[in-house]
């Protein structure tokens, strides 16, 4: 099997380049295993992974342009493995997600002026309408696959103020959270709720299986009811 890997060490190379390697395809081989095979058999690669189970997001790469988790994605045959698009490359397959993560973390902070009591916590919550959608968003590991693939974030030659699917998931989570008291609908609109074109790319690339479009639909209904239907103004001054 021929595996091509995009390599780039910004401290040495002028620009990224692609190297093709011949590796043996093993049964049930994942993309991560192919990367490790190249690293060990041919030459050192910069790559990252931790949990091997789509839970930490660190191994996310693109395979023939499609973002995926290297650990739990089967490698089908000859392909090009490259870093996630839309992020600065640290080296080879490793990208810098710092600011991406920081922005989501801020949106995830619960807003509430009083302490949660045990009694409050022990009150039942709606299983179908609240618990199940919250649980599904819990599995977002902020790998960046959706952000990298989202056409509404990564517009041709420009970026929008849209936080992207993963950030919007954090807001949807807090909007559902029975203990959160922030105005998450207003925040979602500000972060680009109406920028999404509902193309379903995030649903397709999400290793956690999150149903983003249902979450957006719920947020949009709440926003519409309040007449909040604008996209955020872009950054430009002129």
């Amino acid at each position: 099997m021929k595996v091509s890997i995009q390599k780039y060490d910004p401290s040495v190379d002028n620009e990224p380049y692609i190297v093709e390697y011949e590796i043996e395809k093993t049964e049930n081989m994942s993309v991560l295993e192919a990367i490790i095979a190249v690293h060990e058999k041919y030459e050192p690669l910069a790559f990252d992974y931790s949990c091997r189970g789509r839970m930490c997001g660190r191994c996310a790469v693109t395979v023939d342009g499609e973002p995926c988790m290297a650990c739990t994605t089967a490698i089908k045959g000859d392909c090009l493995i490259a870093p996630l698009k839309g992020f600065d490359v640290v080296r080879d397959l490793v990208v810098d997600k710092e600011s991406f993560h920081d922005r989501i973390s801020k949106l995830d902070l619960r807003i509430r002026p009083t302490e949660i009591t045990v009694e409050e916590f022990e009150k039942p919550i709606d299983f179908e309408e609240v618990y199940l959608p919250m649980l599904s968003t819990e599995y977002c590991c902020r790998c960046g696959c959706c952000y990298s693939a989202c056409p509404a974030v990564q517009m041709e030659g420009a970026r929008s103020r849209y936080v992207g699917p993963a950030g919007m998931v954090a807001l949807a989570y807090r909007n559902l959270d029975p203990y959160d008291q922030g105005d998450r609908v207003a925040q979602a609109v500000q972060e680009g709720l109406w920028n999404c074109i509902m193309c379903g790319t995030c649903d397709r690339v999400c290793a956690a299986g999150i149903d983003h479009q249902s979450l957006w639909t719920s947020l949009r209904e709440q926003a519409e009811a309040r007449g909040l239907t604008e996209k955020p103004r872009n950054f430009y001054l002129f």
């Binding site: 030459e43 910069a46 949990c51 091997r52 949660i116 618990y131």
Partner: protein
């Protein structure tokens, strides 16, 4: 195609600014340092908040080695369950806190797996300090009791559910009527358990506080001067910049290492992450700390398929102590259905040794029974992978006759440097969450860790800054690391080959059971591997995210961690908990109710028996 298309002459790394300082300028820079580091924040080193004072020294080969200096009061290594709760505690007590994490903050270690945590809570206060959840037979009883007193036996404060809920929140598992789930499976009367915890929100909250986070920073050594720990030494993984982090007090909370537990295509037979490679244990040991609980691991059954991601908690199928009804032998007999207990290793090993296992060296899970696969019978963290397997690899676990091969995997290693009843190691100024003699880490570190943090904050008051910081100590370490990266050892073994040799030697000696012959043979192999390590070929000289170099450095800690496990195991002539010697299959309290402590003496590892501190009644 050959190795290394980016080898350069030592010290000529492109893209790096090298500012030359006069030797000794570190003292001056250190004095101006507080102003420079008044800023805090979460950063990868690229932002202003993250920049320390730049220092430089001449390496042995004449090349300039530059490093950044940071200063803090309370330095914590690790941002997992223990590290975050220690940080919250120390911060709430008014300390200036800096967290160092080897990986990206909130995406490393066990807490960086965005998973389904299980926690416990009680109905009533404890009736006796000895019954606390964080006690274990081999634990330092003085420490356990001190932790108990610290908690005031406050039921609500000990309620882990509320700890999560109040520090960022999580959903916790709910029943269909919307009430919270109570598994009642702890086996302890009055003790409850719940699943569905996600610690990510707690880390988000921590990030928003005035706590400095130096992530992607690997600790390679302690900064020890005149016998006291005055900080840590290491480097920023993405850029290769060396870092000195000075502190009044340092707390090790990096988690245990299970990286010696064999190898299976992309990982050891362990859910433990590759970041946990024994760096801190190795550093503490080199500075004279005794490592204990080396021979004790926490073990679970986990799938070996799909091979690319078997042994992973998050994408595999497993059987935790409370989900044993699907475990069977090669003939399909469900022999563990009546088993109740935390440690499953003994019956599993006995079955394997009796020839009831499969060719993969383990047992099986068979989900094709009359028992439904649901939240009651299989943890959601596993059952959600059934679809993944089918979609990616066409493996159908419900196919007639299909049995999932599973094996013991190490989810925890007890190892830690001996701590006293305050949590301080044998080195003044160095505290550790591990090292009280417990065999495993678990969510009770939410209790142990704040206690140790509070003791460490108290300790700050008694610390005086060194009269003269000896920067040559740090510079010698950076020189050593640079030499490892740049040495021309062509023809030597590459770091991953050495890693694999350690893993294979250990696993062969350890599973499914061990004995004196296997352990002695393993020690011989480790000695040979050490020779290879001395001439390791780092086939990549770039300083940018150099996996090769990092693996080589990590191997040193992993060797210490592994050797300590093997030598301690050889000394302990009994079987206890997950430690199983076929030549001494019984527990021997008369002779072995004690710690085995591995210590560096005259360049060699020496293991000795140490008495466990008890509370006088």
């Amino acid at each position: 195609m050959g190795y290394c298309d980016n080898r350069q002459p030592a010290g000529e790394g492109a893209g790096f600014t090298r500012r030359s300082f006069l030797k000794g300028s570190g003292i001056l820079a250190g004095a101006t340092f507080a102003a420079a580091m008044g800023l805090t924040g979460c950063s990868d080193g690229s932002s202003e908040a993250d920049k320390g004072t730049a220092e430089a020294a001449s390496g042995s080969d004449g090349a300039v080695i530059e490093y950044d200096v940071f200063d803090t009061e309370f330095l914590i290594v690790g941002s997992g369950f223990a590290g975050t709760s220690a940080a919250f505690k120390a911060y709430s007590m008014g300390a200036q806190v800096t967290i160092v994490d080897k990986g990206p903050f909130s995406f490393s270690g066990a807490a960086g797996m965005n998973w389904d945590e299980e926690v416990s809570w009680m109905n009533d206060p404890y009736t006796d300090w000895k019954n606390v959840l964080w006690n274990e037979s081999l634990a330092n009883q003085k420490f356990i009791k001190a932790v108990f007193e610290f908690t005031n036996n406050d039921v609500e404060a000990l309620d882990m559910r509320m700890h999560y809920m109040r520090n960022g929140g999580t959903t916790w598992s709910r029943n269909e009527d919307g009430t919270w789930e109570n598994l009642m499976l702890t086996g302890v009367p009055g003790m409850n358990m719940i699943q569905g915890g996600f610690s990510r929100h707690m880390q988000d909250l921590l990030k928003s506080q005035d706590i400095r986070i130096l992530d992607n920073t690997m600790v390679t050594d302690l900064f020890v001067q005149d016998g006291a720990c005055i900080g840590l030494l290491g480097y920023h993984v993405p850029t290769g910049r060396y870092r000195v982090i000075r502190s009044k007090v340092t707390l090790l909370a990096g988690g245990g290492s299970c990286q010696m537990y064999g190898w299976h295509r992309t990982h050891p037979r362990s859910m433990n992450t590759p970041d946990n490679s024994g760096d801190l244990e190795g550093a503490a040991y080199r500075h004279g700390c005794s490592l204990i609980s080396n021979e004790f691991f926490g073990l679970d059954l986990i799938s070996m398929v799909p091979e690319s991601y078997g042994c992973s908690f998050n994408s595999g199928m497993g059987a935790d102590g409370n989900h044993m009804m699907f475990v069977c032998d090669k003939d399909g007999e469900f022999f563990m259905r009546d088993f109740i207990g935390y440690d499953i290793s003994r019956p599993v090993r006995e079955a394997i040794m009796a020839g009831r296992g499969g060719d993969h060296g383990g047992l099986f899970l068979n989900l094709n029974t009359d028992i439904p696969v649901n939240r009651e019978t299989v943890r959601p963290i596993y059952s959600r992978n059934i679809e993944l397997w089918k979609e990616q690899f066409g493996i159908d676990v419900f196919e007639e006759g299909y049995m999932i091969p599973v094996t013991l995997e190490a989810f925890e290693h007890g190892q830690g440097p001996i701590i006293d009843e305050r949590g301080m190691t044998e080195i003044p100024g160095l505290f550790s969450v591990r090292g009280c003699g417990r065999q495993r880490g678990d969510t009770t570190c939410y209790v142990l860790s704040p206690y140790v943090a509070s003791c460490a904050v108290d300790y700050i008051k008694s610390v005086a800054a060194p009269a003269n910081v000896d920067w040559s100590i740090a510079e010698a370490e950076f020189d050593r690391l640079d030499a490892m990266r740049t040495a021309d050892n062509t023809g030597g073994k590459r770091p991953w080959e050495i890693r694999r040799a350690i893993q294979e030697a250990f696993y062969e000696a350890w599973e499914p059971s061990t004995d004196a012959d296997k352990l002695n043979a393993c020690i011989e192999k480790l000695e040979l591997i050490k020779e290879d390590m001395a001439k390791v070929y780092v086939a990549d000289q770039s300083k940018a995210f150099n996996v090769e170099w990092r693996t080589a450095i990590e191997n040193e800690g992993l060797m210490v961690s592994t050797e300590a496990a093997v030598r301690s195991g050889l000394m302990r002539e009994e079987s206890r908990l997950t430690f199983f010697r076929s030549d001494f299959p019984e527990q021997d309290d008369e002779n072995w109710f004690a710690w085995t402590a591995a210590k560096l003496v005259d360049g060699k590892m020496v293991v000795e028996k140490v008495e466990i501190p008890q509370v006088e009644e």
